[in-house]
């Protein structure tokens, strides 16, 4: 059958592009800005990160330098904003360098969580069936074991250390990322653009890499940011219990533990690291929740 000659060929009508419309990211940004708690959380997290990066320029001495031994245990003053600790180290310096440890562990653990969580979540969501069953059972095992108990055991067995804590935190952090990615890929693999690629002969690896993972950026970002405070809390808990980052490297958990010995008189040694930890974890959580609500309005807090 051929086209009738008097019918103008449809292809001749070149449609001119309409005015450019706002992209989904623009709307996500607007939703994020409307969430005041998330904006404050993000700003606080940004300031803490900047302080951690520029620590040598804003502190009077090195984090382990016992430069103020004669002033040991001094209360907060104009020279020592947060006082001096029992070993003569400027406490503000210790807190700022503690942020370095906390943030580095938080971000590294979140990064490893994502690196483990994406392929497992993608495999579970895409292949389903037996693969999904096995991965989901593994996740269930991780969700019934209390992370702190397991971390204490692993920390005591391995003697702690910086990278050990990152590994332990990632071991428990990937579960959330995996579930988020799995849900997204399950929803997207039935879409017709995936069918169309399969009808072209695309392999599962191609479909996952080129279509499904790029469409999962939102849950991946959300999983990443939400894994950070979990790792920071885990590090602080382990360091508090003495199986985390070993002294003299400043860590907030370790400092809280030490401060407890002086709590009833030299209150500042316990209060400042606790406040620093609380503020950082809270800011990161608020920022993460805000990102989640902005990037995926359909996914509300559980």
């Amino acid at each position: 059958m051929t086209a009738e000659p008097n019918v103008a060929p449809a292809a001749a009508v070149l449609a001119k592009p309409a005015k450019r419309q706002r992209g989904p990211l623009w709307f996500a940004w607007r939703r994020f800005l409307a969430n005041r708690a998330a904006v404050v959380g993000g700003s606080v997290l940004g300031i803490i990160t900047l302080m951690a990066i520029f620590a040598p320029w804003i502190t009077p001495a090195g984090p382990t330098a016992q430069a103020f031994l004669t002033d040991a245990l001094a209360f907060p003053s104009a020279q020592h904003w947060m006082g001096v600790d029992d070993l003569g180290r400027d406490f503000f310096t210790r807190i700022v360098y503690g942020a370095r440890v906390s943030l580095t562990i938080g971000f590294s653990a979140a990064l490893f969580s994502v690196v483990i969580g994406i392929p497992l979540g993608a495999a579970a969501g895409f292949f389903g069936g037996r693969t999904d069953w096995v991965i989901m059972r593994v996740i269930e095992i991780f969700s019934v074991v209390p992370p702190l108990l397991a971390a204490m055991l692993l920390g005591a067995l391995t003697g702690g250390g910086f990278w050990m804590i990152v590994a332990i935190a990632a071991l428990f952090g990937w579960v959330q990322v995996c579930l988020l990615v799995r849900a997204q890929i399950k929803a997207f693999k039935e879409k017709e653009f995936v069918r169309a690629a399969q009808a072209l002969g695309a392999s599962p690896a191609y479909v996952i890499r080129v279509h499904l993972i790029p469409n999962s950026v939102s849950p991946i970002i959300i999983g990443f940011v939400l894994a950070i405070p979990l790792a920071m809390m885990l590090e602080a808990s382990l360091s508090f219990l003495g199986v985390g980052v070993p002294p003299p490297t400043p860590s907030w958990g370790q400092m809280i533990n030490n401060g407890m010995n002086f709590m009833y008189f030299y209150w500042h040694l316990a209060v400042f690291p606790t406040v620093a930890l609380a503020v950082t974890v809270l800011a990161t959580s608020l920022f993460g929740d805000g990102l989640r609500d902005a990037l995926d309005p359909t996914m509300k807090a559980r």
Binding site: A11, R20, F193
Partner: protein, 330 residues
């Protein structure tokens, strides 16, 4: 090499389905997941799509027409029967062996929104088939994609846009460009116009007609919209409950349909003129299923197929209907 490029064009149909069927096993919940019952979504589908022909496959939702299309694309594994692309049986080919044949049969879906990856620019969408088949480099693929956007009636500057910036009709044009950029022999169009406005629908139909003529394309047009099918297709097959119940040249379907289900479909076409508006009677599926046409021996124009029960019998030039002979039990 036995690739599709080596097959000379000729009398071989572009696409042929032989006795195609699909059974789904419904399982119980719980751990054991016992097989409870079997659902025959599609059974005994024989279809021949000649080169350059447009075959309409019509039927209501759930009649198995989309399942048939997915099986012809090998996106869904058939439970029985064969799929022949340009004379070659591809039913059992594995992923790698099938890939060159995948180029020959392409698809346009109903939902143009979910048919385009939201993270891709339109040039990337249209160039994707070239990318998957490793044809050309990035720059030449991009050029080919923009050429095709123009060919389906979209300005080249659309290449840098994303799917959400387009209307439904424009998205469907992009989907058509993607399906045709590899110059396939067969296009399976699964209700490509049913989500569109009437005026846009006509444009898409015109576009398909033009491209079909230019490319000598064979189209399997799956639809429930008989007025579209009438203007586009040269043959029509009617599906009901997973089986083909009537197949004939388009005009024969509209003038001398024999099967009660075909008549019910024709009856459902809206009539614009109020004076011509008939009183419609809607019959339910069970009633239609019981009402198997009975043919006198003289009405059958060719050899009567073996077997019992309703089966496709020739009743005119190129016209088959699922029926029983006089005196047989339905």
């Amino acid at each position: 090499m036995s690739g599709p490029d080596r097959i000379p064009p000729g009398a071989v149909p572009a696409l042929e389905l032989r006795g195609l069927g699909k059974r789904f096993h419904l399982r119980s919940g719980g751990i054991l997941r016992r097989r409870v019952t079997e659902l025959r979504a599609v059974a005994d589908v024989d279809l021949v799509l000649p080169r350059g022909g447009i075959l309409g496959l019509v039927g209501e939702s759930g009649s198995g027409k989309s399942t048939t299309g997915l099986m012809a694309l090998r996106l869904l594994e058939p439970s029985e029967g064969q799929i022949l692309i340009e004379g070659t049986d591809v039913t059992a080919l594995g992923h790698a062996a099938l890939k060159p044949w995948r180029r020959r049969v392409q698809v346009v879906f109903q939902d143009s929104y979910s048919a385009l990856d939201p993270m891709f620019t339109l040039a990337q969408v249209v160039a994707e088939p070239l990318r998957i088949h490793g044809i050309g480099d990035g720059a030449s693929r991009h050029r080919a994609a923009l050429d095709w956007l123009e060919r389906v009636g979209l300005h080249r500057s659309y290449g840098s846009r994303y799917a959400h910036e387009l209307s439904g009709g424009q998205r469907q044009r992009v989907a058509i460009a993607r399906a045709l950029i590899l110059e396939p022999a067969v296009l399976i169009a699964d209700e490509p116009t049913s989500a569109l406005d009437v005026s846009v629908k006509a444009q898409i139909i015109n576009l398909l007609q033009d491209l079909q003529a230019e490319m000598d394309l064979s189209i399997l047009f799956i639809s429930h919209d008989l007025s579209v099918v009438r203007s586009l297709c040269d043959r029509v097959a009617v599906m009901f409950s997973g089986r083909i119940v009537e197949e004939a040249p388009t005009e024969a379907i509209f003038t001398s349909a024999r099967h009660p289900y075909t008549r019910a479909l024709l009856d459902a076409i809206p009539v614009l003129d109020p004076r011509q508006r008939r009183r419609r009677t809607f019959r339910d599926r069970a009633e239609i299923a019981r009402d198997v046409p009975v043919l006198r021996r003289g009405e059958v124009t060719g050899p009567v197929p073996e077997g019992a029960g309703p089966r496709l019998m020739p009743i005119g030039p190129d016209h088959r209907v699922a029926a029983v002979l006089e005196g047989e039990a339905a």
